[in-house]
């Protein structure tokens, strides 16, 4: 009997092992086919390195003299900078003598620069210029944007290239001072035939045109708009809002793609010294905590009515740390392809965003993209990344937010009037009170109208998280300036004496909207 038991036990063990083994194999197979996301080939990993495969050569110091040499004191002309120049191929040129193709067109000052003023190859067919030469910046613009564009497309993103993208590396523009250091991206929402533009301003020691990260960041804005299907993920910001969560996300994702593609957790070491408070070698923003200080959401998001208010770049930096935490987890999960998976996740989430999105909206989009790409395999990582940095669901407010508003006309010189004429801009002094013991999440004020004669211009402002038991006073000398208010205009064809109606909508994520209706007596 004992022999029989042993026999049976052995048989069962073999049978169970065989069946369980089959089961394990089939599970693994299913996982590989269904939940590992899009295939990440070795050629994609090659593309990610940023080298273009063929074409005329150009000499560049990448990403910039400080990062390339590791010296905070490096400038365009130091010996270490000169010796760190490397040769790069410039693929996809329409002709070997001009840095452009059907999509990307590199210029110096304006879109209308004469071709004769632009970079040209030497007798050997190479674009060989020193870093301080503006023609080198043209080469940097072409190489860096083309390499990032190539990587994003290789990941499976088809971009809106129905219009060209013009890049001016040392822009001249009426009304902008010659010593200005800045960079701008324009999507040209109004005009479906107008090109997109990236404009870099500045020509000093730390000129933005010399830094690959600046091009990647600005191209990141184009990617945000294209992949989000041009829903206007921050249309309020495009329309003049000082702050919205969408504007912070726009900067955050532009930082993220530059940082992740470059495999460094910061951006802007080269351009930072142009701005007050930065020394040579300091990054402009960092996706990793510095000096052992953990950055949490409440440190950047709170408006308390006494001076503290959210600022888009500070919130963007916080956001980039959340995304970097997720990236780190994916890299830990798979050293070789984790960064690409992270890029796929962050960019795919963009395609799920709605107009005037929020940080909650993006967090949900990342979770949804993970569900669709990776069967939800990183849900815990995503939630923890946001929660660990203080972004948690807020309890519903006990009392609704309070709001009062007074309307003013705005003259061409910016002063306010108590009466409003046809064709005149108008704005509001607004008081918003949170009489609860909890914060009000993502407070926004929006101007709406069902009357075609009233148009919201700066139609929405984001005000961040309103602290408990605090009041925001917008348009007062002691509170926030009128810049933080909403603006509209009454059509000039409206007869005097007419009344036109409007609505102010006060929104927060943890209470119902509150509407304040009013009329303008012209």
């Amino acid at each position: 009997m004992q022999q029989h038991e042993t026999y049976i036990q052995r048989f069962l063990l073999v049978a169970i092992t065989a069946i369980a083994g089959l089961s394990t194999v089939s599970c693994s197979k299913g996982e590989l086919q269904g939940c590992a996301g899009p295939e990440i080939s070795s050629s994609l990993l090659e593309v990610r390195k940023g080298y273009l495969p063929s074409g005329p050569k150009g000499y560049l110091v990448v990403p910039n003299p400080i990062d390339a040499t590791g010296l905070a004191s490096a400038t365009a002309t130091t010996a270490e900078t000169l010796s760190s120049a490397k040769m790069f191929s410039l693929s996809e040129l329409t002709s070997a003598s001009l840095l452009e193709n059907a999509f990307l067109k590199i210029r110096i000052e304006t879109m209308n620069d004469a071709v004769s003023t632009l970079a040209k190859p030497n007798a050997s067919g190479e674009f060989s210029y020193r870093v301080e030469d503006v023609h080198n910046w043209e080469v940097m613009a072409y190489q860096s944007i083309t390499s990032l564009r190539r990587y994003v497309k290789a990941m499976g993103f088809g971009l809106d290239e129905s219009r060209p993208l013009y890049v001016t590396v040392r822009t001249k523009q009426a009304g902008i001072a010659a010593d200005t250091v800045n960079a701008y991206y324009t999507h040209n929402y109004f005009d479906s035939t107008a090109p997109r533009t990236i404009k870099l301003f500045g020509k000093g020691t730390y000129a933005p045109g010399q830094d690959r990260n600046v091009y990647w960041h600005e191209f990141g804005h184009y990617l945000n708009e294209s992949i989000s299907k041009q829903v206007g993920m921050d249309y309020a910001g495009d329309s003049g809002a000082i702050y919205t969560e969408g504007s912070a996300l726009h900067e955050c994702l532009a930082d993220y793609i530059a940082e992740s593609t470059g495999n460094v957790s910061y951006i802007g070491k080269w351009i930072a010294p142009n701005f007050e408070g930065y020394s040579a070698g300091d990054p402009l923003r960092s996706a990793a905590d510095t000096r052992g200080q953990k950055l949490t959401y409440s440190q950047v998001s709170l408006a308390d009515g006494t001076g503290a208010k959210p600022e888009r770049y500070a919130v963007a930096e916080w956001c980039s740390r959340v995304l970097w935490d997720i990236r780190q987890a994916l890299v830990a999960e798979s050293k070789d392809i984790g960064a690409v998976r992270s890029d796929l996740l962050m960019l795919s989430a963009l395609s799920l965003l709605k107009k005037d999105t929020s940080i909650s909206g993006y967090r949900d989009a990342v979770a949804q993209a993970d569900q669709q790409l990776f069967c939800g395999g990183h849900q815990a990582v995503i939630n923890q990344a946001f929660e660990n940095r203080g972004f948690v669901k807020s309890a519903n407010l006990t009392n609704p937010l309070g709001i009062t508003a007074t309307i003013y006309g705005v003259t061409s010189t910016g002063s306010t009037t108590s009466s409003i004429s046809p064709g005149q801009d108008f704005t509001f002094r607004i008081k918003i009170t949170n009489s609860n013991s909890q914060i009000a999440r993502n407070v926004r004020i929006k101007l709406e109208s069902t009357d075609s004669r009233v148009r919201g211009t700066t139609y929405m402002q984001g005000l961040g998280d309103l602290a408990a038991n605090r009041t925001l006073d917008i348009g007062s000398t002691s509170g926030l300036s009128f810049e933080y208010s909403v603006y509209g205009v009454v059509d000039s064809a409206t007869p005097r004496g007419t009344k036109v109606s409007y609505t102010l909508r006060l929104m927060t994520e943890n209470a119902a909207d509150k509407l304040l209706r009013g009329e303008i007596q012209l």
Binding site: S162, G175, F190, D191, K354, T450
Partner: protein
């Protein structure tokens, strides 16, 4: 007897393994279902949503504002642009797309699907403020349609209009323009208007009243009287 006991035990072990696998399968089917609930292939139409009434709801969650239809439409074997165009043409009558309006599709893709946007124009002049956006899954199944098309009358291009120079001269000191600033003519499809209005999109720099802040901007100016209808700002790396 020996065979009988062995058979019973074998059946029991198979049953136990089957149960165990069944639990796995059940868990997997739950996961599949959760994926399906995100991407049901259902058709959700957000009819004629103006910018101001864009849905606040998450995808596939209807709000009171939306007209929701559940029908599955897919166009296998076509390119996404062909599929979207076929869908648009199938709805031409329902959406009352006017013969004087042309459209141009632009597709963007991601690993999650394709989106085709149709921009409209009249006699080659872009209509700003109206479009149709069609989102599709990997098999060209229609997932969501955002329809901002409005069957507006033809814009009156014979009306007396200011030239770009005249319009620029009427701008207040708030906006500075270069002598050669580009000024493209567009047709502004205001939400409540019957006819689109000819406007110019002009590149300018907005200067704050104290002169401290200067922001590159595009302004939309009505060609009839020079009124500034809208402004969009370029996205700055640093706020001055």
């Amino acid at each position: 007897m020996r065979n009988f006991i062995t058979g019973i035990l074998l059946l029991a072990s198979i049953y136990w393994v089957w149960q165990w696998q069944g639990a796995e399968r059940f868990a997997a089917s739950q996961a599949d279902r959760s994926i399906e609930s995100i991407d049901p292939g259902a058709f959700l139409k957000t009819a004629s949503l103006g910018f101001d009434s864009a849905p606040k709801a998450r995808p596939f969650v209807a709000t009171e504002q939306e007209e929701v239809k559940t029908e599955t439409v897919s166009y296998p074997g076509m390119s996404p642009v062909e599929a979207a165009q076929t869908y648009l043409e199938a709805h031409r009558q329902e959406w009352n797309i006017q013969m004087h309006h042309d459209y141009k599709p632009v597709a963007v893709t991601s690993p999650l699907g394709t989106s085709v946007r149709f921009q409209f124009s009249q006699d080659g002049i872009p209509l700003t403020g109206m479009y149709v956006n069609i989102d599709m899954g990997a098999g060209n199944e229609i997932k969501q349609v955002e329809n901002l098309y409005r069957p507006m009358e033809m814009a009156d291009m014979k009306a007396e209009l200011l030239s770009p120079e005249e319009v620029t001269n009427k701008l207040s000191e708030r906006f500075q323009t270069a002598p050669d600033a580009d000024a493209n003519m567009l047709l502004f499809a205001g939400t409540h208007n019957l006819q689109p209005e000819p406007v110019y999109s002009i590149s300018a720099t907005e200067i704050s009243n104290d002169g401290q802040t200067r922001r590159p901007a595009k302004i939309l100016v009505r060609a009839k009287d020079g009124q500034v209808l809208d402004v969009t700002y370029e996205r700055a790396e640093r706020t001055e």
